[in-house]
Symmetry: C2
Subunit: 358 residues, 2 copies
Amino acid sequence: MTIRQPRVGGRARSGGRPTLEEVAARAGVGRGTVSRVINGSPRVSERTRAAVEAAVAELGYVPNTAARALAANRTDAIALVVPEPEGRFFAEPYFSDIIHGVGVALAETEVQLLLTFASADRERRRLAQYLAAQRVDGVLLVSVHADDPLPDLIEDLHIPAVVSGRRSASEPLASVDSDNFEGAKAAIGHLLGRGRTRIATITGRLDVYGAQRRLDGYRAGLSEAGLEEDESLVEPADFTEEGGRRAMSALLRRRPDLDAVFAASDVMASGARQILREQGRRIPEDVSLVGFDDSAIARHMDPPLTSVRQPIEEMGREMTRLLLAEIASVDAHHPRSARQLTREQVLLPTELVVRASS
Amino acid sequence: MTIRQPRVGGRARSGGRPTLEEVAARAGVGRGTVSRVINGSPRVSERTRAAVEAAVAELGYVPNTAARALAANRTDAIALVVPEPEGRFFAEPYFSDIIHGVGVALAETEVQLLLTFASADRERRRLAQYLAAQRVDGVLLVSVHADDPLPDLIEDLHIPAVVSGRRSASEPLASVDSDNFEGAKAAIGHLLGRGRTRIATITGRLDVYGAQRRLDGYRAGLSEAGLEEDESLVEPADFTEEGGRRAMSALLRRRPDLDAVFAASDVMASGARQILREQGRRIPEDVSLVGFDDSAIARHMDPPLTSVRQPIEEMGREMTRLLLAEIASVDAHHPRSARQLTREQVLLPTELVVRASS
DNA sequence: ATCACACATGGGAGCGCTCCCACCGTACCT
DNA sequence: AGGTACGGTGGGAGCGCTCCCATGTGTGAT
């Protein structure tokens, strides 16, 4: 028989990173005690804690995350999943703001943020594998389309998740959204205050829940002011500039007497403005124009566009808060199968930014 | 005495993700064999492999990464470290291109990309912890400044790493850079071909190695054409638009007879153009202008700017290739302390994009 | 038929941690 | 004095994998 040698090679002790056990030996305590100190358990005497901390500092000990993840069944990492090609991701300041908000919310925790793109089908599959492999404790999903299968997949996997922008009134996942309804209503209130009464709207794709809510807000704003609904003032579009142009043309043809336009996005407002100008309507003298999103476009338009600002960074913060809470609740109620996720729905207030176009 | 119960709770078998052992049982083979199949070892018979693959599919088995990382001492993840605040990161298309390149290089591997920002000091410390905790197998470093301590830190940790843009001629880490010298020389060659002989240059911050190389290329281009060096045609700046304006003013004051300007960045070229226009010099009739980077600015300038294109996406690809190679070589030569990293230096060719400004 | 050798396979040990139970000592009560 | 309680501590077991050694099992050469 041969005596089994301890495994040598890559993980040899010499020069490797120190382990818990080594710290314990150095501090003259047991492994469990060191673990308690590292994890900030209160059940450790002051003397012992100090001794362990000294040993940690001397050895430059850093816990091995893989071991911790395996033993504790958590990774202390969350993923921000962007179901878009990188190109669009970088083009839109939206994402930058979201990430910033997430970063703020994570700053005081030990949780790491991972960014993942998943536009192509192939990448989707990879992502599914990734999530199933339990590499993250939870997922932030931004910019999901109504027909995206990703959220359902995540739901099946029983992974804590938060989406930005509900997909419907009965969003099954926890979500953070801006108050599209009130935002639109405020825009209408503002236009009414300017003395406008024939207010048209250009909507986004109505299969997007947020677009529907903006339309609802438009209608509520008018009816609360005692104005009758008038479908000839409503023109659907698709969130694009070209769509904005077409819708504006249609509206002017149908209702040449309109004195204000509420576009459900800045991009569509930009398209509308082009047509208004071509047709010789002055902004804001003849027609007031209001957009939605308060994007860079709004600030740089001529004249600068009044727009409804969404608190994007705050949405990022809030999403993170919700996700961390879900993860914590899962840890608590152990049974992984029967867990209760909170599925909280948060609605953040919007703000009307008034500029020269109204 | 009490009989020790198997641990229950979160990690109970019921409903949990299947393990290797369960796949093995299902396929009627041993644990080792399943592991071999999963990892694509050739030492498995065709029959067995098929049986295991069937079991994997039936159970929806996905290996647990934490366990794998712990046992194999690798994570199959690399980090892209951006020592900039997120804002700048998103503002510059440079990063988007790099990431795209990295993504392409990673597409055919199982390696996951993590994005990490680390501008503030606090974040730096976190990052250092993160790396020490062995959460990634290697690091891609972009946009490092000459005085950044991060690369040295990474070097001390003996973590495979690749930087984009060497910090000096003797870069200690593996690096990928574009050929600034030849790029600049080509720009000068082009201007000479246009019949220009009094060619000035606006340099970047000369403590940035790349800026120095562009200046060297400028000089080499002139001397190869038999022109004498003339320091009155060289004006240092700092890569900013304002710097470009100042440098251009100084050059015009000193050398009103100049007939071409090579700016070491498009942004500086943009500043230079403003001054040239103010002074009534026509581009390109009176003065030819060439920039560097071929950024969006170059395409949108009036007139469109001739510029030296860097193969950014390819740099991302190449960095990834180098990093994966380093990681592989580390795995091979086990002893973690005495490892030999390749420290390869790659120089990618640039390309002159000729537009109306020259 | 015998040996040698390759190839295929099973399973023990161990990666570094967390969790939890058992145990120790001390303080406080009866 | 004996009992009880509890804060503090040590260390076994186990997380799910990889690695490698030991053990079959089949093939061709002798």
